[in-house]
Symmetry: C3
Subunit: 356 residues, 3 copies
Amino acid sequence: MAEIFLKNAWYCAGWNHEFHQGAGAVIARKIAGERLVLYRTRTGHVVAFQDRCPHRQAALSLGRKEGDSLRCMYHGLKFNSEGICEEIPGQDNIPTDCRVRTYPVIEKNSWVWVWMGDPAQADPGLICFSVGPENPNWNMKISKMHVETNYLWEIENLADLSHIAWVHNDTVGGDLAFSRIKPKHTTTARGTHTSFWVYSHRPLGAIRHLFPEDARIDSNWEIDQTVPCNWNMRVRFFTPGTETEGPSNGELMADTWTCQSVTPCDDDSVDYYYSWGADNASEARMPGLSDLLGGTLDIAFNEDKVMLEAQHLRRKEMPDFKMTRILHDAGPSMILRVLNTLIKKENEIRPVLEPA
Amino acid sequence: MAEIFLKNAWYCAGWNHEFHQGAGAVIARKIAGERLVLYRTRTGHVVAFQDRCPHRQAALSLGRKEGDSLRCMYHGLKFNSEGICEEIPGQDNIPTDCRVRTYPVIEKNSWVWVWMGDPAQADPGLICFSVGPENPNWNMKISKMHVETNYLWEIENLADLSHIAWVHNDTVGGDLAFSRIKPKHTTTARGTHTSFWVYSHRPLGAIRHLFPEDARIDSNWEIDQTVPCNWNMRVRFFTPGTETEGPSNGELMADTWTCQSVTPCDDDSVDYYYSWGADNASEARMPGLSDLLGGTLDIAFNEDKVMLEAQHLRRKEMPDFKMTRILHDAGPSMILRVLNTLIKKENEIRPVLEPA
Amino acid sequence: MAEIFLKNAWYCAGWNHEFHQGAGAVIARKIAGERLVLYRTRTGHVVAFQDRCPHRQAALSLGRKEGDSLRCMYHGLKFNSEGICEEIPGQDNIPTDCRVRTYPVIEKNSWVWVWMGDPAQADPGLICFSVGPENPNWNMKISKMHVETNYLWEIENLADLSHIAWVHNDTVGGDLAFSRIKPKHTTTARGTHTSFWVYSHRPLGAIRHLFPEDARIDSNWEIDQTVPCNWNMRVRFFTPGTETEGPSNGELMADTWTCQSVTPCDDDSVDYYYSWGADNASEARMPGLSDLLGGTLDIAFNEDKVMLEAQHLRRKEMPDFKMTRILHDAGPSMILRVLNTLIKKENEIRPVLEPA
């Protein structure tokens, strides 16, 4: 199933603080079916190697940092930060083919990005926009989670927010109005933009106790989803206004960003990196709001995890099961079409997932 | 290996009290390779659905009861008790193909039975006879167990009781005489009847301590085994008489029934539902006997579980291992022949298990 | 992958004390892909059967010793120590094909050896040399371990001791000089002999604390490795002399033997049996040395286990990964060539592992 992955793409390998300069920070990851080992050099750059020694496929992630180099701790072969072998203990001559595959790495917005395809095509401009925790205007709270599902089901999940009415009633949903949203989807260079307003709805489950019992709010949701599975959303909450379409005429209560990246490890699991937080003005109005939002995502994504892992079992069992199309599939269909087109162009193979 | 299952048959899905009307009783089962979800409606009927939403294969067993309907808690599709979609949140039109496969369900003798084949052929008359715990003349004690083996090995196990001499020496065997039984097997409409007497044998392991050390008893064993794997046995214990063939002329001490149903989940595991108990007169003579018998089955079937799970590993490893036929295989051969004939008729495929 | 195993070979099934005459000592093993059950008869011989009853493949390792016989505890078939069925409960006639496959067994140097191939070719002379714990001149301390790797990676590991510089720095390595050894490898009848001296090196990690901080020693390593994966090494430690090639002119401090046998269970795991100890004179000079050496192997082989299990995952994932050859591969290449030649002769198949 390797063809389900877009290779010429940046994948999030984690939060940059994970890749610190300590001796123990030699970090194994599986990304798009390939094993990687990442570490930070003395000059502060993160390097990514294939996690197998060219000698006998020992795990380089069991290796040892020596200056900017990484030594395989099985037979001692030492590789510089470009993956070139600079020492084979017991011999003077080093074969030129004795090198480790390296992957382009870029740090941006506190995320570490790895390019899994042809290095010559590794365009930094393709890294998705995001608001990182280092941004002084926002109070982004970060976390991560491992989920045993296929990343395509995560893409579908994120591209149709109507599910928050059901899966996340107690956390990031809380009103049936969410099940009836009419989002406007448009295609972008490498993804989709989704936009919708909800009026006079109950506050989200996770913040409802902060309001009077009969409180209502308006909200605006602006989402950029890009391939392979990056997802940025600005959500703003307003006091309830009188509009029923277009922008609310209520007063802005909170302006928040959530930035999320789902990295497929292999066909059956993903690493999910995410953040949520409010801007300084909102945090001043509602102290503690950003911590609340960040912590809520851990709970909400555990709700998704149960659903997506059960769904994955079923979709693996019956890949040819004829599925019913509903209106809310418009978002998932659009982003999957973008992804499929890029994968097809890359591989000239059949679509991996029929647009619903 | 799906062809190892008889589809046009009733399979036991559990004891009826498991399917109560509480909100949480939305119950997942795997039967004959298919995932099912079962719940009881307000009108008291148990319905069985395929456990995958027609939209995106989400687990309906993670769903929510609403009146007699079941709502998928991923995107909120709601299905009535006939599996027909009655709501798709966010849209007015419901496609006619938006329905969940349903399975005929019948409750009988406190067991819930599901028909896994063509609904048009679901004949209630094919449900096996059994004595349920609701029967006022009998004191049936019920239980269940999950075993990691193939159901065909359970069929063989139940069709040759000589194994109780070895596997169950401390529970439902207890005398080497059981290893030398000469049962009379006859075919029935959808199975076999097996009958034998054992004379002047030591009381079963589980009840021996209730008797003097040198006590002997006579016993009669009458078994109806039907496809796929239902098993009913009336066992009667007598004071030792002087006969050595035909009915004992001893005095009846205890009249007992055990009703058992083995439901294949898939090729590698079964759910086993079983009961044992004495009639009122026997219970009056030996107070507590029914509890003792029911509890003994849990112990005895753990003895089988160890044997059958080890056997399953070995039979999977060497499916072509040439096996030796013994006289005690007559019972297993006969019931497997009945099962094979029915499966062949259904599928027109080769026999799944060569009669030994 | 069954062809990766040499069948006409003796495999170590364990330490002889494991196969005692107690009722419970009916011992299951998996060797070279086959399931075995072993037990010791009253006459003191260990017999090895295929661990599947010829009747229905029940596990004979769940069976019961009766005198010198083993009874299957499923339906009571009883087999004498030659595997011939001597009782089928419930019938008088015993088919001549009702027998269990047996395997030649020999005990030598406290190890139990099983021949997995053609019994007619089972030459006791092919059992590898070893120094057992029963040897009065040596104080051999024994142990065992299960490792989830392929035995070929164990062979490579043992045939190139340069890895002790890296993997075992704190136990059986401790000086980078080990990474630069120039061992002399020669082929033997069914394996290789390897010999090297190391001069003026730091004492091994596990014994270093017994010496002054700047202590240096000389050492001599003489290894016999034979197929499938037997490994005997005499290691002698000397006070540092002035030689830099050939035998040390230092004074002998300790003379030690370690005998090791790696038995493949299947393609993915091995049972590893090993010992290490000093001779009486060395033990007198350094009381407790043998316990120290024996216990050190448990720690050192856990160091290998981490490395070899990670390597196994990677080599299974990419069997065609092009690997770089280094000088230290000379030893592994030589012993694998011997093994491959024997397996090819046996099977007339392609080499299982290309000499590096």
